[in-house]
Amino acid sequence: MDAASRLTTVALVLVGFAARASPPDSGGPGDGWSSEKQAVHVLNRLAYGPSPASLAEIESMGIQAWIDSQLRPAAIDDRAVEAKLAPFRSLQMSTAERLATYEPEVKLARQRGLDPADPETRARLAEELPMGALPRQMGAELIAARLIRATESRRQLEEVLLDFWFNHFNVAAQKGAVRWMLASYEQDALRPHLFGSFRDLLGAVAHHPAMLFYLDNWMSTREGFDLGALRRAGAPVPKKLAEGGKLGLNENYARELLELHTLGVDGGYTQADVREVARCFTGWGIDRPRQVGTFAFHPMAHDRGEKQVLGRTIAAGGGMEDGEQVLDLLTAHPSTARFLARKLAQKFVADEPPPALVERLAAVYLATRGDLTSVYHALFGSTEFWSDRAFGAKTKTPLEFTVSAVRALGGTTYGDVALVKALDGMGELLYRAQPPTGWPEVAAPWVNAGALVSRINFALALTAGRVPGTEVRLPEVARGAGASESVETLSRAVLHVPLSAATRATLLRAVAGEEDRMPDGETRSVDRAQVAGLLLGSPEFQKQ
């Protein structure tokens, strides 16, 4: 057993002890909950909501086995979804291939002698060129793939974690060359490390051109770096770059690395630390961002002086390893442990997570040197996760709401434009969160009048079959069932929680209105689409 796995074991024992040390009435995970309630809770948090298939999966495997399997997604057979994604060409290319295949509209306009600054021209170009040749095709495929996976993948926890870590390490498609780099960012930097060590994840992100471009680090050089002088001295510097004059430090990545990726804003760093970290990362750049788009370290742009980061000296004369040292330092910092623990607890337990849980998760993080699966394991085994206070306590983000609605009705999707537009209308534009904070995880920003109306409209459209490319199956009700029985059946199938008396009365009134309009006085079975629309638009379904 190596040192790391020994530490993992120690940490797990500690967590187990913490669970036993909790009040006697809380017992083990999910005690006192029906197995359906346990399954619904787990699917609401570790997945994009219950679907008939996922409920059946848990029923046959048992809840703990299902959770364990989700923590090892590579072993889950997901060929059906992979087959569905196979036609998305842009997702299988390298960044360089994407740059060559999907040329920017601006470039295409210039080739045709048109003014790229004119919006009319750009609109005309979009009409003239086949959609498949335009950069926006990449965005459409990327978003569709994300929605298909979220809805249909059996590796549900991986999809939930991808969303979490993408927002944590947010980059935005609308910034320059980032959109050609997004597919690689997701596949190469994020996905391979979701269940691994935080240091690997952080390193993969720090090295990725999408992040280097988004937070401007590729432009950051030692102060006074003079490309013109280099060219005059005979270095192979392109003329255009050489004319750019002297370059220098850019703080953007360094600041967000400390504030958002690791320590947190109150994690104990100063403005001086920001500058010193920026100096450490000078030269971390991109090989021709609009032609090649891979990581490149430029030794000549690197500041080789001594640096002081968080009280530690980084010796003069270093190169790329200066940045690696900073990442090591940040990974091991207790502020990072606490910051990540709090965010994960916020994601999986409650918007205001219990401080004791955060402390325990931070301890696991430190004891395992940032092994993420150990932290997840501790989280999903905690009494806080399985508490009545946590059940249904989170408000769904627009992505969670949209996908969970499709899943609740056993639906499938191609992630077409109608679904994407609905999501946009609720305020969550996938891959286009402009600030480095990404899309928020907590409820407050998402709960407002306009977004609520958009959610209700989506519920009505989905159940009426008005979301092209996305299909759902309405739950069956027994033949000849009365209104009350039908409403009960449908709400159990969609919400999985008993209806309050007031909600039941409202639903029955809505259904009764239909019956009143019957000309022959006969009882007609209830309009299932209508009831399902009300249920998906109800406040109960906004929670998870």
Binding site: G427, P436, V453, L534
Partner: protein, 409 residues
């Protein structure tokens, strides 16, 4: 159809902060609030997110330190090619803001320079948070200053559109116990199954989640009001033409709400894209593009309203300014002081307010940023005194005593 199903104002409760702020409202502001009988003006708050570069928006073209600090970014002096529009001996207006020049000349538009928030940070997230909560340094503040102002002037019978965020999410500024709705735009704000409105209203009235319950009630009331006033159908007036850009659309919706007679008192909206670390540009380029969008939107709004502009006050601000010296990438990094723009009723226009202390010596903060000459809260307090007139501004900005800026009549 039931018109008003629920007493939606029952959620109004006094803010916990109310007790902290007593006695911090200076006399000049108390008088401004008390000594008038005119109806309240509508306040439109536009937040530029990302840290807008005040030194390019209202450049100190008369300060010799300015072009020296910004070899590639400085806006040239008035008269030169791409030069600033002359405002006074020291300042000019960015040429992309040309649509606003007539409003400056007519005295409807003013600027406050070297404005910022003391004790703030260079983190976007924190700085925005503090600007919106109005309590720099205090992260636990739950509500925003604009919401606290509304709490100070409760209107139990106000309509759903009294306080509106024209953006996808309710900003921190408007969060709090006073009701406020957020809608991205009036055009899409309708229920596709209008006959279901009563049913959904019933469902949300019974919601266990308090935020969903109150938001539901606000939403359904607003839907009814929007439908009955036919808000989304109102065309612009006075020959105003709005560009097809987000801020223009939002200000057009503001004008629609004002004309719709729905009791609008507060609008909060935002515009992004100000974080110009790389290739910021001078008279043209990245920042100029954002400013053109801002200037055109405000000018169209002023034109649309015509004389009714005097019933409205627009405040434009950002979370922090940018470094005085340009960085190594022909951009600027996060700084401190920036500029505010004030437009409309009550504004003492045609001048740059705030004491200017230059770009070096006392005007330079930590040898890199524009030092704060005027706390933004002093300006916001004056704006509130000129518009919503809360009886106790000390509760809106607890623990803060505004200084006199003189930006409003």
């Amino acid at each position: 159809m039931r018109r008003t199903s629920f007493p939606r104002r029952v959620f109004l409760k006094s803010s916990g902060l109310a007790f902290l702020g007593l006695g911090l409202c200076p006399g000049f502001l108390r008088r401004a609030v008390a000594e008038t009988t005119r109806p309240r003006r509508t306040l439109v708050f536009v937040f530029l997110r990302g840290g807008a570069d005040g030194l390019s928006i209202v450049p100190p073209v008369g300060d010799p330190a300015y072009p020296a600090a910004r070899p590639t970014l400085a806006i040239p002096r008035p008269g030169a090619e791409g030069g600033a529009l002359a405002l006074d001996g020291t300042f000019g207006l960015h040429p992309a803001l040309a649509p606003l020049e007539p409003l400056w000349r007519s005295g409807a538009l003013a600027a406050v320079h070297a404005a910022g928030l003391h004790g703030a940070t260079r983190s976007h997230f924190d700085a925005q948070d503090f600007c919106e909560s109005g309590t720099p340094g205090a992260k636990s503040t739950e509500d925003g200053w604009l919401n606290r102002c509304l709490q100070e002037i409760p209107e139990p019978r106000a309509g759903a559109f009294r306080a509106v965020a024209l953006q996808g999410t309710l900003p921190r500024t408007l969060r709090g116990t006073a009701p406020a709705v957020a809608v991205e735009g009036l055009q899409g704000f309708r229920l596709s199954g209008h006959e279901r409105l009563d049913s959904f209203e019933g469902l949300y009235a019974g919601a266990v989640d308090q935020a969903l319950r109150s938001t539901g009630q606000e939403a359904f009331e607003a839907l009814r009001a929007a439908a009955s006033a036919e808000l989304s159908a109102r065309p612009p007036e006075n020959g105003a033409v709005y560009a097809r850009a987000p801020l223009a659309r939002r200000l057009q919706d503001t004008a629609r709400l004002l004309r719709g007679g729905v009791g609008l008192e507060v609008v909060a909206t935002e515009m992004g894209g100000w974080d110009t670390h790389v290739a910021e540009g001078g008279s043209t380029g990245q920042l100029a593009g954002r400013l053109r969008e801002l200037g055109e939107a405000l000018a169209a709004f002023a034109r649309d309203l015509g004389p009714r502009l005097s019933e409205v006050t627009v405040v434009v601000m950002t979370e922090f300014g940018r470094t005085v010296r340009e960085n190594g990438n022909r951009g600027t990094d996060h700084g401190t002081g920036s500029v505010m723009l004030l437009l409309g009723g009550g504004v003492r226009g045609g001048r740059v307010h705030g004491g200017w202390r230059g770009l070096d010596g006392p005007g330079l903060f930590e040898d890199r940023d524009l030092a704060i000459g005027t706390d933004v809260r002093s300006v916001l307090a004056e704006a509130l005194a000129a518009t919503l007139r809360p009886p106790d501004l000390g509760r809106v900005f607890p623990g803060f005593t505004p200084s006199r800026v003189g930006a409003f009549d």
